[in-house]
């Protein structure tokens, strides 16, 4: 066991810190396109967008430990995201690298790495939430084209994306084997995007309708029927939960600040042992998330298959979000009825939690794939 870093790793960390010192932008400008443009250009110059991708694909070829250091420092500094296109970099790039033809890579990867495209991903459908493989959107081949008809839901950023990376059904009988991955131009005739505002009125989700949309067969990624494998493979380099734990630490710091100025039963909240214990419990659990992530990273470094370990941290996060918000709103007291930061996140954090798969799914994965209990 050794938490020390090599001299090269320490040097890389210093390089990241220097970069942040020079280029980081304040949190309230994270939505400002001009500020972000400079940030992105600096990242592109470093090849830190697509840092984990191999150099021959135009990526940074960063080692696992370097990726970890980069992400850790960025979260600590509350820096903007590593690129403008989360979906594209998380799903589309790795899938193209693993399954794309040379032509496909040439066509899409450079824009991805240079922040010149925005992708959305089409997995969920109205009747298939946790149960992705029950998707029904169908693609029927006609010559050199697929005719795609169906609908996707919860499609983040579909109203801004140029492309959608999505799963369609090319054969109906086979649950997994009938699924194919296609990349579709969002300007194609027959696509209609309807916003789904969330409970505080923000628009990030959409419903996307496909009415006989014509998609060149050249836009198919992988073979017909390989879609499930293409998408699941992109998950191989899944999150360790370490940067999530950094976010949670920052949230805990805000909660401590709130506790320092709040009252509880007429006395300063910090004189209430229950408040202190609750915060301490959050601290322990966040620390566990971070260290679980480190053990997971160690397994990755040793070349062991990542498997299902991320479910552990995903499950830890849900109750943590709920309980931290519960305490925060309690500390706010009557002020909790007015709009504010904690009030807002107490309404929308469910999205974060559900976004990682419903809590029941995480527990099923642990129970069935790790503990070997029978499937329900």
């Amino acid at each position: 066991m050794d938490f020390h870093y090599t001299a090269e790793e320490e040097a890389f960390r210093e390089e990241v810190r220097a970069f942040i010192a020079e280029h980081n932008i304040p949190e309230d400008e994270h939505e400002d396109p001009d500020a972000l443009e400079g940030w992105h250009q600096a990242l592109i110059a470093k090849k830190w967008i697509g840092f984990s991708w191999p150099k021959e694909a135009g990526g940074g070829g960063g080692s696992l430990i370097e990726q970890f250091i980069l992400k850790e420092e960025m979260s600590e500094a509350r820096a903007p995201a590593l690129g403008s296109d989360f979906m594209g970099l998380t799903w589309v790039g790795p899938a193209l690298i693993n399954h794309g033809t040379e032509e496909q890579k040439q066509r899409w990867l450079p824009d991805l790495l240079n922040c010149r495209s925005i992708w959305c991903t089409g997995y969920s459908e109205p009747d298939s939430g946790s149960d992705l493989a029950s998707l029904k959107t169908r693609a029927v081949r006609e010559g050199d084209e697929y005719i795609v008809t169906g609908q996707k839901i919860w499609t983040t950023l579909a109203h801004k994306a140029q492309w959608i990376f999505m799963l369609v059904r090319t054969e109906s009988a086979d649950r997994y084997g009938g699924i194919t991955c296609v990349l579709i131009d969002m300007k194609s005739p027959g696509i209609e995007v309807n916003p789904i505002p969330n409970l505080v009125g923000d628009h990030s989700f959409n419903q996307v309708f496909f009415n006989e949309v014509r998609v060149p067969v050249a836009n198919r990624l992988g073979d017909e029927g390989q879609g499930w494998r293409v998408v699941m493979g992109a998950l191989a380099n899944e999150r360790t939960g370490i940067s999530e734990s950094t976010t949670m630490v920052q949230q805990l710091d805000r909660l401590k600040d709130l506790a320092r100025r709040a009252t509880r039963g007429g006395r300063p909240a910090l004189e209430d042992p229950e408040v202190r214990r609750q915060i301490a419990r959050f601290d322990c659990r966040i620390s566990a998330m971070r260290l679980n992530g480190m053990r997971h990273l160690t397994h990755q470094l040793k070349g062991e298959l990542p498997g299902t370990e991320t479910s552990v941290n995903k499950w830890l996060r849900g109750p943590l979000e709920i309980e931290m918000h519960d305490l925060a709103l309690g500390l706010l007291g009557p002020e909790a009825v007015e709009p504010g930061d904690w009030q807002r996140t107490s309404l929308v954090f469910h999205g974060t939690v559900i976004g990682g798969g419903s809590p029941n799914i995480q527990r099923n994965i642990i129970g069935e794939r790790i503990l070997g209990l029978p499937k329900d």
């Binding site: 939430g129 029950s134 409970l199 709103l329 009557p334 009825v337 709009p339 469910h350």
Partner: protein, 373 residues
């Protein structure tokens, strides 16, 4: 021994529900609450004609002359419907005046409160964790036989729409006084505040050298303490009734969703990971109902039990409703936190209900103290 509703109460219950289902479905609620006043004066007039505003006011003052069980029966339904109106504040103002004010004060206020022409508000709370028993923050000086009162009360429910307000203040001898005054009096300012739960309106009430005449004073000294405590208990019980209705509604929506939503080949309600939380919510709602019924009964029939009973009900209901709100959203998955789907309106109500008339911290401490700790 009969711990249930009478036939008349069952009838009132189903009529209230029917009325609200027809007159104030949730899309109507959404429309109404986007108006600045946050309620519909026409509907307010209608429920006043149905007798709701004067439920516990005697017939001689134009009220229905019913009791607190009838009151919670109606409030369960306004809670279920998230009916936006200043009903709770008006009812409690009327209830307190009917039980504790002088005949002259009853003459002055009860007919208007019963007819709905008066809209009440209760500017009593210091903060949610510690409702203002003991010395109230607004302070008064003597001005002949009147008082001059200055001070602020935050987050006063229904204040923006109120025509009259119950205030508490302490004089220079630290004696507590309660007074009921017209909202339009010089020296009263109401600053409306935005709320997470758009079906409720709140405001900060500032008293600046407000003149309170002797005939405005409802109670003073120990009497005022007793009336204030009882008024807050009534508020807690009324809020619990709305919690019960709202909690039952969000639970029913989630049960229905669990029956309809199919995943992995089964309705998700088949899975114990969905079924068991729904069962636990049901147990909580049944328990809220029992605690609430007893507290409402005690207000009229066994006042010495009312403080403990009210605090038990509000404490339990507050914690349970907070959990039910979050749990219901989670069980709905992504659809639960869209603007369009109604379940989120109830989640927002749970955020309002928690501090209203004392949060769980306040009421649990009171349960502990009244239980001999």
């Amino acid at each position: 021994m009969n711990f249930g509703l009478t036939e008349e109460q069952e009838l009132l219950h189903s009529e209230a529900r029917k009325f609200l289902e027809e007159q104030s479905p949730l899309d109507e609620v959404r429309r109404t609450t986007s108006n600045p006043e946050g309620y519909c004066p026409k509907q307010w007039k209608t429920i006043a004609e149905l007798g709701w505003t004067g439920l516990v006011i005697g017939e001689k003052y134009g009220g229905a002359g019913l009791g607190w069980i009838d009151l919670i029966v109606v409030l369960e339904e306004t809670g279920r419907a998230l009916f936006p109106s200043p009903l709770i504040s008006t009812l409690i103002a009327g209830s307190t005046i009917a039980d504790f004010a002088s005949d002259a004060q009853k003459e002055r206020w009860l007919p208007g409160l019963a007819s709905g022409d008066e809209i009440g508000a209760l500017a009593l709370l210091d903060d949610a964790s510690a409702p203002a028993l003991g010395a109230a923050k607004p302070r008064a000086t003597r001005d002949g036989d009147a008082f001059r009162v200055s001070g602020t009360r935050l987050h006063v429910i229904d204040a923006p729409n109120a025509t009259s307000i119950l205030i508490a203040f302490t004089d220079d001898t630290d004696a507590l006084h309660l007074a009921y005054v017209p909202a339009a009096t010089a020296g009263i300012t109401v600053e409306p505040r935005e709320t997470v739960d758009r079906t409720r309106r709140i405001g900060h009430v500032t008293l600046a050298n407000l003149r309170v005449a002797p005939e405005d004073v409802l109670a003073s000294g120990d009497d005022a303490q007793r009336v204030l405590e009882s008024t807050l208990d009534r508020g807690a019980v009324a809020t619990t009734a709305e919690i019960l209705g709202a909690g039952t509604a969000i639970h029913a929506m989630t049960v229905q969703y669990a029956k309809d939503r199919v995943q992995f080949g089964s309705a998700i309600g088949r899975y114990q990971g969905v079924k068991h939380p729904l069962a636990e919510m049901y147990v909580d709602l049944e328990s809220i109902r029992s605690l609430l019924y007893y507290a409402a009964w005690a207000i009229e029939e066994k006042p010495e039990d009312a403080p403990l009973a009210a605090s038990r009900a509000k404490a339990f209901a507050t914690e349970a409703f907070t959990d039910i709100g979050v749990g219901a959203i989670q069980l709905h998955g992504a659809v639960g936190y869209t603007e369009e789907y109604d379940v989120q309106l109830y989640l927002k109500r749970s955020k309002w209900a928690r501090p209203a008339f004392g949060d769980e911290i306040h009421h649990l401490e009171r349960v502990a103290r009244l239980g001999g700790l």
